[in-house]
C-alpha cells in the first residue's frame, strides 16, 4: 500500500463525494422535474463511478477490484435507464417541462 496509491484513492473519493453533493443540490435547487432528471442521471452516475473507482484504486488488483468494476458497469448501464424510464413515464402522464418565462412551475398539464 504505497502513499501514491492512497493519495490517488483519497482524491478520487473526495471528487466523487463532491460530485454527488452537486447531484443532491441539483435535485433540491433546479426548477422542475425534467431539469432535476439531468442532475439525477449524469451527475449521480459520474459521482458513484468516481467513488467506486477510488475504492478500486485503494483496493489494488484483487478480486474485490473486479467486483467493483462489475458494479461500476452495472450502475453505468442501469442508472441512466432508470431515470429515462421515470422521465418517460412522467411525460406520458402529462408532465410538461418548465421553460423561461413560464410561471406555472412545471405543473402545467395537457
Amino acid at each position: 500500500m504505497s502513499l501514491v496509491q492512497d493519495i490517488v484513492a483519497a482524491s478520487l473519493i473526495v471528487a466523487g463525494l463532491l460530485i454527488m453533493l452537486v447531484g443532491s443540490l441539483g435535485i433540491l435547487r433546479l426548477p422542475d422535474f425534467f431539469t432535476r432528471t439531468h442532475a439525477a442521471s449524469k451527475v449521480d452516475t459520474t459521482g458513484i463511478i468516481f467513488l467506486l473507482a477510488g475504492l478500486a484504486v485503494f483496493e489494488g488488483p484483487t478480486q474485490a477490484m473486479g467486483k467493483l468494476l462489475i458494479t461500476i458497469a452495472v450502475i453505468m448501464l442501469a442508472n441512466p435507464v432508470a431515470v429515462h424510464a421515470l422521465a418517460r413515464a412522467a411525460w406520458n402522464y402529462g408532465e410538461r417541462p418548465w421553460s423561461n418565462g413560464d410561471d406555472s412551475g412545471g405543473r402545467k398539464s395537457k
Binding site: 452495472v74 448501464l77 442501469a78 435507464v81 429515462h84 424510464a85 418517460r88
Partner: protein, 162 residues
C-alpha cells in the same frame, strides 16, 4: 403490468440486466459457503430477474423465460429436493440433513457434505424463485385458474422494432 414496455432502451437493457441478475442469483446460491447468501437470497434474485422481464417484455412474451404453468410444479420439486436430501441421510442412519452419513464409495466425508449442502441450497433456490414468480403472477391475476387467465393484454402503443 401485463403490457410490454414501448421504449427500446428499457427493453434491451432489461434483457441484459435480467441475464446478469439471474447469473448473479446462481452465483449466490453456489457460493453460499464463502460469502453472504445461500439458497433463499439467490432464489430471490432469480425471481427478480423473471419479474423484471415480466414487467418490460409483457406477460406473454416473458412466458418463454419461466412460464406460469411451470412455477408451482417447480416449487414443489424444489421443496422435494430440500426435504428429500434430508430424508436420504436418515435412511443411512444419520440425523436429518447429516450429509456426512451418506456412504459414497471413494469420496471422503467433507466432500459428500459439500455436495449435500449444494444440493439443498439448489432445492431452496428453486423453490423460492418459482414460489415468488407464482405469487407475482397471481397478483397480476394471470395465474392458472385465476380470474384473468384469458384477460386481453391490449397494447397501448406500437411495439418497439428491434
Amino acid at each position: 403490468m401485463t403490457n410490454p414496455s414501448e421504449s427500446v432502451i428499457i427493453v434491451v437493457v432489461s434483457r441484459a440486466l435480467a441475464r446478469l441478475i439471474q447469473l448473479f442469483g446462481i452465483y449466490v446460491i453456489i457460493h453460499g459457503h464463502y460469502s453472504p447468501g445461500g439458497g433463499f437470497q439467490g432464489g430471490a434474485l432469480l425471481a427478480a430477474g423473471v419479474i423484471l422481464l415480466r414487467m418490460t417484455e409483457g406477460y406473454r412474451e416473458s412466458q418463454t423465460e419461466t412460464s406460469t404453468a411451470a412455477a408451482i410444479p417447480l416449487a414443489s420439486l424444489g421443496a422435494l429436493i430440500f426435504a428429500g436430501t434430508g430424508l436420504v441421510t436418515l435412511a443411512f442412519g444419520g440425523y436429518y440433513m447429516d450429509y456426512g452419513a451418506v456412504p459414497v464409495p471413494g469420496v471422503e466425508e467433507p466432500i459428500v457434505r459439500y455436495y449435500g449442502i449444494l444440493l439443498v441450497e439448489f432445492g431452496i433456490g428453486l423453490a423460492v424463485m418459482t414460489a415468488l414468480v407464482a405469487i407475482f403472477d397471481d397478483m397480476l391475476g394471470q395465474a392458472p385458474g385465476g380470474d384473468g387467465e384469458h384477460a386481453p393484454a391490449e397494447s397501448t402503443g406500437a411495439p418497439p422494432k428491434i
